[in-house]
Symmetry: C2
Subunit: 452 residues, 2 copies
């Protein structure tokens, strides 16, 4: 039997991985990308430089045989290192069992995925901008920009293409989802947070060494905002400042070089010294916005959206890419389960994944508060300590939320969310004791576990 | 001083009224409408035939001198008449002081507004579809469809137009808002309810008489769904069936003529006999969807959205048009207050009206449950009776929510919502008494009022 032709829109991380999954199942797979080929023209920015790859993502990469290759370029981060205003460092391991997450370059990872897809026979079409989708006939219309060989002017070509299945993995501003949005009875929301982000750079030392602990995710929590840093293979770190767009202390208010300089020197004294170019970076790099998008349905006839196109989230749980990769794994699993009956698979996919996407969207928003406000808070650290103690005594019964989300790749996000809510209620009551700092060692932890 | 040029997109109810307000202030006002002129080509449907005009709307019409003229074609509805499955009628007046709402034809009202606007010198441009907005230069691009006089084929013309102010009052699927939506940091949501609506018709009797009480809004509450009917000047009623799209009993499940017939005869026996054409209407008329849209900001430089373009709501409070007219009144008030300083006015408008739009959106969703599930419920009727008693004793202190929303045009929707929430909490506690039906006359109502 001739397998279906599938068009994937978007050659980013999620689309490229998905093309491998589907090619391996024997489909005819084409990937259409609006941007030029980053392998030839360089990476076009606008998105974060490095990402935290964790178990859910690794599991999917493993299934297509790429996990080992990618581990070579990834840098393990075993915990969080918090930097106080005074330069004091506090370290929190991510798990008691030596679990870690990985800093990985977005473009390196994307290139590995595209190369592997092409090796397997996936066809990539760059500079193809999707203009519209005819959901009834599963027909796409693209605009392709080509150079006229005589005049060297760009000319626009319009291309129509029918497929049997279309998958939009074209990011938070998905053209496929925008086409769905103007169809009847399509629920959609996009909500921005008040903070934007700006990337800064800590170069390697003159001898090529990391200037901060290499195997940590570094956080400068400052209550209403924060900065983080992830290591890069060349010894540098990429810092990301998450900061309000407007208000008393904001991107808008730092409107002179003096103000920027004073702000950095007072707020991040230990790291400012390590960033010789931060003033230039601050002016050169845009303040990018952070959006959560939700929609339903994800399926219109034979067209599906997934990854950020279906559920863009804020980056504070480091799960955006991991969730997108998990989408690919789950879709592949459902194709196994329903023997490639796409009608069943598409329905099952959206019904299964929607609650998980909603859960990780909320978790990501909640974690911003934890990272910026709480990781520097005495009471919060005690809370984490008590939870760690419970976990060490009852390792299968009380698993910290971060561990469930980040490391338990067999647990659905929605399940982790629900358990996390119950844990929170129990811990809120425990922490309600004003003398908890004195009393906590006397707590009957078994009773707490039994309440779960 | 030459007053600014203002382009209004959408010649519907809100845009037409607004054009009058602004023309009266001395602006150069042009209105651009996607559809043909309904005065020449007839009304293009897809929206409800008649509407409930109440105090907020009337106040705005009054300010532009049209309330008296429109009262002549409006039919007062003094209360709700509920029709039980057995054909039993229950009547609830809308207010103790003889307040009423008005059934009015959407197209009649729209035509009166357009005629008055043109009389004042507003220019209308029909069959102009807005394709894009350049918010920086306040420049609109339209597509105009014209007939070639030689070939009689339609040809498309592209028109660019600069204005000083652009106002999008182009409805729930606003082109102006869609242009805003793809700009950065624009929050937006569209959410459909599970019910759609279909319009049916009760003709006048052979002698031109109303077959049901003319001065009521008729409701057939059936718990998970309902039908309503509003009177028309020709002696007919327009019925609207609000019904689930899918499920056991739904538009989807009524898939044969026999099923439709059985459903109507069993569910609405008293009125089915009055609708000779209901089977044909049921097949001919589409099941339309019901959406709530929210967005923020409403302003991008010199461009504003208002009415449904900014805040489309479900119809269950009869406030969609009234809220849109109130938008016009408030904008006009702010122009007075800030002496036509549009920068200040636009900011003040969105900040003032956004909480009110959110409040009426929620009230409209809540009222569907009240209308379809509760108005036939004994305990609900007792609750209303107790509230009416409190109101009669303390008329200035405890005003029923419906009265505040519908008749108190000097109270903001957001204020009515907040007070309504407090009343609900108090009444929930009162109704929590299982013997409330016996005990309610002994209640100390003063204590309840003091809790507000």
């Amino acid at each position: 039997m001739q397998k279906k032709s599938i068009s994937i829109i978007g050659a980013g991380l999620v689309g490229s991985l998905l093309s491998i999954y589907l090619k391996k199942r024997g489909y005819q797979v084409s990937v259409f990308e609006r941007r030029p080929d980053m392998r030839e023209k360089g990476y076009v920015g606008g998105r974060s430089i490095n990402l935290a790859l964790s178990n859910r993502g690794i599991r999917a990469l493993n299934e297509v045989g790429l996990a080992e290759e990618l581990k070579k370029v990834a840098i393990p981060m075993h915990g969080r290192t918090m930097h106080s205003r005074e330069g004091k460092l506090t370290y929190q391991p991510y798990g008691v069992n030596g679990q870690f997450i990985n800093s990985i370059s977005r473009s390196d990872l994307n290139i590995v995925l595209m190369n592997e897809a092409e090796r397997l026979g996936v066809e990539f079409f760059f500079e193809h901008r999707c203009l519209s989708v005819d959901f009834v006939n599963t027909e796409l219309t693209f605009q392709r920009s080509t150079k006229n060989s005589q005049t060297s002017n760009n000319q626009l070509e319009i291309i129509h293409l029918k497929s049997e299945i279309v998958i939009g993995s074209d990011g938070a501003f998905s053209a496929i989802r925008q086409a769905m949005q103007v169809s009847d009875r399509f629920d959609y929301s996009q909500e921005y947070i008040k903070h934007g982000y700006k990337e800064l750079h800590i170069p390697a030392s003159d001898t090529g060494e990391f200037k901060l602990d290499k195997n940590s995710l570094h956080i400068w929590p400052r209550e209403s905002f924060m900065m983080i840093a992830l290591p890069n293979p060349d010894g540098s770190f990429t810092c990301t400042l998450f900061f309000p767009f407007e208000g008393e202390l904001s991107f808008a208010s730092l409107d002179t070089q003096t103000k920027v300089k004073t702000f950095f020197e007072e707020t991040f004294p230990d790291v400012t010294a390590l960033m010789p170019e931060y003033l230039i970076d601050f002016y050169k790099n845009p303040a990018a916005s952070l959006v959560t998008t939700k929609c339903f349905p994800w399926v219109k006839n034979n067209t599906l959206v997934m990854g950020d196109a279906a559920h863009a989230i804020v980056p504070f749980y480091g799960q955006g890419m991991n969730a997108g990769f998990e989408d690919g794994r789950i879709l592949n699993e459902l194709l196994d389960q329903y023997q490639d009956d796409w009608t069943k698979v598409l329905t099952a996919f959206q019904n299964t994944r929607k609650p998980d996407a909603d859960a990780i969207a909320q978790l990501a928003l909640d974690n911003f508060i934890e990272m910026r406000d709480l990781v520097a808070d005495e009471k919060f650290l005690l809370r984490k300590k008590i939870e760690a103690k419970i976990h060490s005594l009852f390792p299968d019964k009380w698993i910290p939320l971060y561990t469930m989300v980040t490391f338990q790749d067999d647990m659905r996000y929605s399940e982790a969310y629900t358990i996390g809510q119950r844990q929170k209620q129990i811990m809120d009551r425990v922490m309600g004791d004003p003398d908890i700092d004195k009393n906590w060692e006397k707590l009957d932890l078994k009773v707490l576990v039994d309440k779960l």
